[in-house]
Assembly symmetry: C2
Homo-oligomer: 222 residues x 2
């Protein structure tokens, strides 16, 4: 029991809730484990609850009519899937899809409990509102990048973000194309150029960052 309650403390904004509310939250929620590569929500998988990530990472992406994908943002441990969840709670049709990138442990809060918490706790409302706001600014950023950003600059930035743990990166050109919403050939050419300039080394399915500082310099030249 005491063990179960611990997860709340990991969430900025939930840890300050009154004890009674915390108890309510713990009582009504369920911890779940999901293996990597699972679609946790999306067209065809509509959950009826809000997810709080304890461990792991969820990638949220959108597939266009033409079949091409673009990554919108990622939900990390300590964050919640408020945004797409809202679309579902409001019964709005939506086209985004959430996929676990790692094994994920999450807390599922049913709609009813979510609603009672919204009613009863100012702190909880602030938590949700703030989470929303952050996602929205993420989306604004995506729009800005896609509309006005240069591909090489965006790719440089994404390489750095994806290789936060070490200089090795196990990813295909196609996956990188999906990250930026472009075509594989474009990624291939830009990476080839990066290689010629000594920024990276490549082999099938793997990229090694050789010169982070120069990659960062390019990424900054937005």
């Amino acid at each position: 029991m005491a063990d179960n309650r611990v997860w709340i403390e990991r969430f900025h904004g939930l840890s300050t809730l009154p004890d009674a509310v915390k108890a309510q939250l713990v009582a009504e929620s369920a911890v779940m484990k999901v293996p990597a590569g699972t679609a946790v929500f999306g067209p065809g998988a509509v959950p009826d609850n809000l997810l709080f990530l304890l461990n792991g990472r969820v990638r949220v992406q959108q597939t266009s009519e033409s079949g091409r994908d673009i990554v919108l943002y990622r939900v990390e441990a300590g964050e919640s899937c408020v945004l797409t969840t809202a679309c579902m709670l409001a019964h709005e049709p939506y086209s985004a899809e959430g996929v676990t990138e790692t094994d994920v442990t999450a807390v599922a809060i049913p709609r009813g409990a979510f609603d009672r918490l919204m009613a009863s706790s100012q702190d909880f409302r602030d938590f949700v509102l703030t989470a929303y706001a952050r996602r929205i600014t993420d989306l604004f950023r995506v729009i800005d990048d896609v509309a006005f950003g240069r591909i090489d600059v965006r790719l440089a930035g994404r390489l750095l973000a994806l290789a936060s743990d070490g200089d090795e990166l196990a990813t295909t050109h196609q996956q990188l194309a999906t990250e930026l919403g472009t075509a594989r050939e474009v990624i291939s050419r830009v990476l080839h150029d990066f290689q010629k300039r000594g920024f990276i080394a490549q082999s099938r399915g793997r990229i090694t960052l050789l010169d982070r500082s120069r990659i960062a310099q390019l990424a900054e030249s937005a």
Copy 2:
């Protein structure tokens, strides 16, 4: 007094509120009038309240570092500015800006009142959540269009949307470029092509739709 209360009935989702809540809402809010062309929120104009539009239209757009603009969505009468307002309430830095396109009458609900309503009324929460969800799907649509859409198709669709009242459209190429987040020259060329194909007629600052059905046909060929 009774007159003041009428505005609530115009909002789907607010009209079903209990009378006590309605009275509270009316008591705590203020009706305001804003002339066309005013920045109602944005960097440099941070209001501390949520706006409900009674009349008129607000255009929400974003300016990139490079100085280019893109229109994100419009808030029409009967809707509220939930999205960007949330960013402000959550004290998130944001880059979007709201400009009145017509004279606007709006109801301003201060943060405190908003919060009390969120706490006290399930209907109000649903209203806000639904409004959020709709905006978010709008943003998803923008991302999809910008990333994967063709310029001529997007422009055709936008011309139809902007000319909802009549076939005359008083707008410059630059304004249309801002609508789609592209460059004026691109719009000039596409419009020139539309003109050659007999879709439209042009003169300085004015566009006349000549063949809505063929424009619509192009717009549909997403």
